[in-house]
């Protein structure tokens, strides 16, 4: 008896024309973002690369942006969805300013808004393909949280997205402590970004570090990290093992 292969896709819950209107996979992506709380606020680091699959297409993508007066948003994943989120947040902050009531949206509120947006999009099977990191300070209270593309959100003393979860979080869990100074915080972030540079194929050696405190947000100029390649074992690795590689 002959069995013909069915032409129906696996998830046939959706109608025939909906496939072209949903995000199925990301195209231009940013890699990890790493952030931590320090004495005066929050420090965040991200490199400036936008990869198109396995090509490094864009090398000056700013993946961290200020939101309102009190928050800083960093994103990894699809860059176009990040730009869409920035538009939504722009509108949110605008409406907040129009109230002109002396109160402004703090990081906790923005984080909650983002969580709702991400989760609702995910429920419609049309996600914004990003992992977001939201940090800020309002009235002396530091806040650092993260939202993923499926709506998983939590806040912590240090967060990372993507590969940063596997490579940077172990280092942060060991070496982060309360009341880091600015210099120590930057050193710790650089340590994490260096390991990511060595071991993440989509990382590039051009990064920015952003700082947000009660006073406001500053973002550094792009710079590169020093890397060390002079291990003697790298010079002639197969010296003892002739014929291998």
């Amino acid at each position: 008896m002959q069995f013909t292969a069915s032409k129906q896709p696996e998830n046939c819950l959706l109608g025939p024309e909906s496939d072209s209107q949903r995000t199925l996979y990301p195209y231009v992506t940013g890699t990890s973002v790493v952030a931590l709380k320090y004495k005066d606020g929050v420090l965040m680091a991200a490199d400036m690369g936008g990869s198109y699959g396995s090509t490094l297409r864009y090398k000056s993508v700013e993946r961290m942006k200020p939101i309102g007066k009190h928050s800083l948003l960093g994103a990894s994943g699809e860059i176009s969805d990040f730009q869409e989120i920035l538009k939504y947040l722009d509108e949110l902050i605008l409406y907040d300013n129009m109230w002109d009531d002396g109160n402004s949206l703090g990081p906790k509120e923005v984080h909650n808004y983002l969580t709702r947006v991400m989760y609702n999009r995910r429920n419609k099977f049309n996600p914004l393909w990003n992992s977001l990191v939201l940090g800020g300070v309002k009235k002396g209270e530091k806040y650092l949280g993260t939202v993923s593309m499926i709506g998983v959100n939590f806040e912590d003393n240090h967060v990372a997205t993507g590969f940063g979860n596997h490579l940077a979080r172990p280092i942060l869990r060991q070496e982060w402590h309360e009341n880091l100074s600015f210099e120590d915080g930057v050193k710790l972030l650089e340590k994490c970004m260096r390991v990511l540079l060595y071991r993440d194929r989509s990382a590039i050696n051009k990064l920015q570090i952003a700082k947000i405190t009660e006073e406001g947000m500053t973002i550094s100029q792009p710079y590169s990290l020093k890397t060390y390649w002079e291990f003697s074992a790298f010079e002639n690795p197969t010296q003892g093992a002739v014929g291998s590689w």
Partner: protein, 273 residues
């Protein structure tokens, strides 16, 4: 009508006859049983006088920890040890097999085994099985040519490195190595760094856990530090210990040594065909 095709027995290697049927079954929801893997963090690093290998001690069967204190650092030769990640049966079998081959080779040549010999035997075997023998190994040792450290992947490729990590916890351990490794470490510094890397795997990776095993190999010899660090003791232990209720009373004890029942005939008839 007789069959014109003679059924020849398979020559060796895997027989892929059942693959299509297995695929069809898993599509219908009938999955094969999960096998015992060593979730694992295994590391190796070269220091001043030799190599140090480290491993965690958790073995998992899917989501369950089936062995809380297994041994992942396998003996290959008096001067060569090998850490194994992947399917536990595969790592055990492959290291046992190559260890025996190395011993026979030692008898044949009358010399100490070299790390490259173990490397070549392992990689040839793994390549032959095209990645189906799921064993990812960190091989280290010291021989006449000096200290060596290699990683071997399930498909048969190898790397020669100053420091290496494998297993599900490899990224957590590599984060520690990449930030703290430098050349010319002393023995104690090396052991401390390896312990830190394994602990990073134990606490940040769910597939690794329990204790840290270390093996230090130098020209002089080897030091196998089983359970060098035990950072996961039982949280609550009863100070009273266990007391079992009264068992059945023993009325009579009679021991019959088996030898007396067997008659040993010296110089009897030889076994007939």
């Amino acid at each position: 009508m007789s069959k014109s095709v003679i059924e020849t027995p398979p020559k060796g290697g895997f027989s892929f006859d059942l693959c299509k049927r297995n695929e069809m079954l898993s599509k219908k929801g009938v999955n094969p049983p999960s096998f015992r893997k060593t979730g694992t963090t295994i590391v190796g690093l070269t220091f001043q006088d030799g190599v140090i290998l480290g491993a965690d001690t958790r073995a998992t069967e899917g989501p369950i920890v089936c062995d809380k204190n297994c041994e992942k650092i396998h003996y290959m030769a008096p001067n060569i040890y090998c850490c194994g990640a992947g399917t536990a049966a595969d790592t055990e079998a492959v290291t046992d097999m190559v260890s025996s081959q190395l011993q026979l080779h030692r008898y044949h040549t009358g010399r100490e085994s070299r790390v490259v010999t173990a490397l070549t035997l392992l990689k040839r075997h793994l390549f032959n099985y095209q990645g189906y023998v799921s064993a990812a190994l960190v091989l280290g040792g010291v021989d006449v040519t000096g200290p060596h450290l290699h990683t071997i992947y399930p498909h048969g490729s190898t790397d020669t490195l100053p420091f290496a990590t494998m297993g599900s916890g490899s990224l957590a351990a590599m984060a520690v190595f990449e930030s703290k490794y430098r050349e010319g470490l002393t023995r104690n510094e090396g052991i401390e760094l390896v312990t830190e890397a394994i602990c990073s795997g134990i606490f940040n990776d769910l597939g690794s856990g329990s204790n840290v095993d270390i093996c230090v190999i130098t020209k002089g010899g080897k030091e196998y530090l089983r359970n060098h660090l035990q950072p996961n003791p039982r949280t609550y232990t009863s100070s009273k210990g266990y007391s079992f209720p009264k068992k059945t009373e023993v009325l009579l004890t009679k021991i019959i040594p088996l030898k007396e029942k067997v008659e040993i005939i010296e110089g009897g008839d030889a076994m007939e065909e």
